[in-house]
Symmetry: C2
């Protein structure tokens, strides 16, 4: 196929990256690919034990998509091997043990979400259990012979734990090797990952050398802070913007980020191009521009990206009506009540809270309103036939009819 | 079956050991075995990559034999798994890579020699590849999860290498785990090994706990110095007494040990009982006893043990004739020479030296005699029909006829 010029490709590939290790290496590969008409093999590994995707996960997916758009071969490696083994010691909560069914179910859900970013038709999806499960003890010994203990202990978290005499189980050394083996198996030219994956990605590079392959180029992407602007984005911290969230939710959540995050969200979340990024940077330093308006553009850009431009305008109108003008939205979920129910029960059942105690807490914090009035009674009863609009937090509504 | 009293068993088991870890544990196991009539499972691992056995190897084999004589179940584990993998980095020369055929061939040779010590009919022989080869990557990860990096680094040689920044490959951590897995597989009650194996044996103990088994008792045996009394006994240092060596060779080599080794050789090499050991100790401190005579008893005891009492007496006579009285032995190998040959060639061909240069070196060192006269010419030619007795070193002869 005909590839774009190296300069054009580079501009897109480089955008938003933290590091490209080594840069020159990738440039050579791109040149060779263009000369020979052969696309590069780009690897991205994913962990099926955490299937709820947000725009934080989107950062690496987006980079993979860039390569797809440039005509290269994207491979998504589903890490079902480690997911099925989990952490045998049970100490590491980020590595729960999944059954084969759970792993497959999670992968399906992962792909369902990832397809809002990736060109799923041109995506190769592979499960690393298919080759790692084939390895026997002897193969593992050979694999492990390619890496030294001292080098493995250079990984940040290992160094810290070793120094502070916090136990490191030997099997933890196996995971970076397994992940590296994936690169060997695929003969990957490039691997993409978050900055927290840098060490593991470099292990893949080292192992490829040991197995007489051309070592992959490692591309690390920055971690995206959540909408609080402080913590890493995660569902558990509830500071995330889900990839398949509704337009209003994306818009509203985007509007709540601190101003110093606007540029980073344009770059990593909204996938803005260089021209836009340059303009945004200029506007943000211009004292005559209200950053709130830049943030509104960001919120629209995010909704446009994951839904459509039309949805973005609608979401903005909704936001203005509900938040800015503090009026009710035109449309909201409705519930036809047939028997008397406690307010706390109803909002829990409708999914606004996770537990009754969360509902009570919200009421105590004055975060629940009935027809615009703060509700202060945690024992409030809703009566059938008595219409009322319940507002939970800033943006969520339920109409009782 | 009916077992001997614990006191009697203990006397034999304890003899010659370096450590029993923990002693009380083993006493309880023996008591339980006696009470229930169930014999204990005693494990000894061996390395088929070094198939030439000497009385240094005999130390642990002898201890295993003690357990056999006491009615327990001896299992010899042939470590063919590691032998077939070897050291993938090729750095560790004590762990060469063998083919399956070589490993089997070596094991046969090992057993051929070991049977001079063990009761081979009641010996269970197992190859650890039969269970270790069954383990896949996931099983290995689970196994490795039971041991920490810090604990593994406590092994003496690892500690030293880690401190001196000498590379330790991660696969080296796998071998103690594999060996420990053998104990788990066998549900071993006791494992015997040299003091240099103490750490590995304790790993087996730890792993058994992790796999909810009663942990094995670890018995370590001292390493036996070679006949030089300094280095560890080994064929490569040529300070060994081979298990299947001829009576004269055993006798002669035993007579060359330094006096301070006599007791240890009685204890670990000649398997002397407590009464003999007590007497020997007394004699060795008695200024009226010539230690040379005690050593003669040792040499006879060793030949008696590996051949017969009759052989021992013959070997002693041979020794007195050849070494003490410096006369020729009655019998010696003969060679019918048909063409002129150089002396150096002939002694090499007949296996007295490993190379021609070794032959030349021996001549230069005045260690070769022709009919009792020192031969000083490295170019000496032997002529057909001219009978001569060649003496190489102190005890080896060849008659040219």
């Amino acid at each position: 196929m005909a590839f774009k010029s190296i300069t054009e490709q580079w501009k897109i590939i480089k955008r938003g990256t933290e590091e490209i290790l080594p840069e020159n290496d990738l440039k050579k590969k791109l040149q060779h690919s263009k000369d020979s008409g052969q696309s590069l093999v780009i690897k991205l590994g994913c962990d099926p034990s955490r299937p709820d995707l947000h725009i934080g996960h989107g950062v690496v997916l987006r980079k993979l998509r860039h390569f797809q758009d440039l005509g290269h071969r994207a491979i998504l490696v589903i890490g079902d091997f480690t997911a099925m083994i989990g952490d045998p010691t049970g100490r590491n909560k980020t590595r729960p043990q999944l059954t084969l069914e759970e792993a497959l179910e999670n992968s399906k859900s992962y792909l369902e979400q990832a397809k809002v970013i990736l060109d799923i038709k041109r995506l190769k999806i592979l499960y690393n259990s298919s080759w790692l499960n084939q390895m026997n003890f002897g193969d593992v010994i050979k694999l492990a012979s390619h890496y030294t203990v001292a080098r493995m202990l250079e990984r940040d978290d290992f160094t810290k734990r070793f120094k502070s005499e916090t136990a490191i189980s030997i099997h933890e050394f196996m995971y970076p090797l397994a992940q590296g083996m994936d690169s060997v198996h695929l003969c990957a030219d490039v691997e993409i990952g978050g900055t927290d994956q840098k060490f593991n990605l470099l292990v893949g590079r080292d192992l490829q050398k040991e197995y007489s392959q051309k070592p992959q180029t490692v591309i690390t992407m920055p971690l995206l802070e959540g909408i609080d602007g402080i913590e890493k984005m995660s569902k558990s911290a509830n500071n995330h913007i889900g990839l398949t969230e509704k337009p209003e939710e994306i818009y509203g959540r985007a509007m709540s980020i601190p101003d110093n995050m606007i540029y980073k969200y344009f770059l990593l979340g909204a996938d803005a191009n260089s021209d836009t990024l340059f303009r945004i940077k200029t506007e943000l330093t211009d004292p005559l521009v209200n950053p709130r308006n830049v943030k509104r553009e960001l919120a629209r850009a995010l909704v446009s990206l994951y839904h459509s431009q039309k949805d973005a305008l609608k979401a903005e109108q909704h936001f203005d009506r509900v938040i800015v003008n503090k009026t009710e939205p035109k449309e909201m979920p409705e519930l036809n009540l047939t028997v008397e129910r406690s307010l706390v029960d109803v909002i829990r059942e409708q999914g606004f809270t996770k537990s009754k105690s969360e509902g009570r807490r919200l009421i105590i914090q004055n975060a629940v309103r009935l027809d615009g009035e703060i509700c202060r009674d945690i024992n409030t009863i809703l009566i059938p036939g008595k219409k009322v609009v319940i507002k939970i937090g800033k943006r969520r509504f339920l109409r009782i009819i």
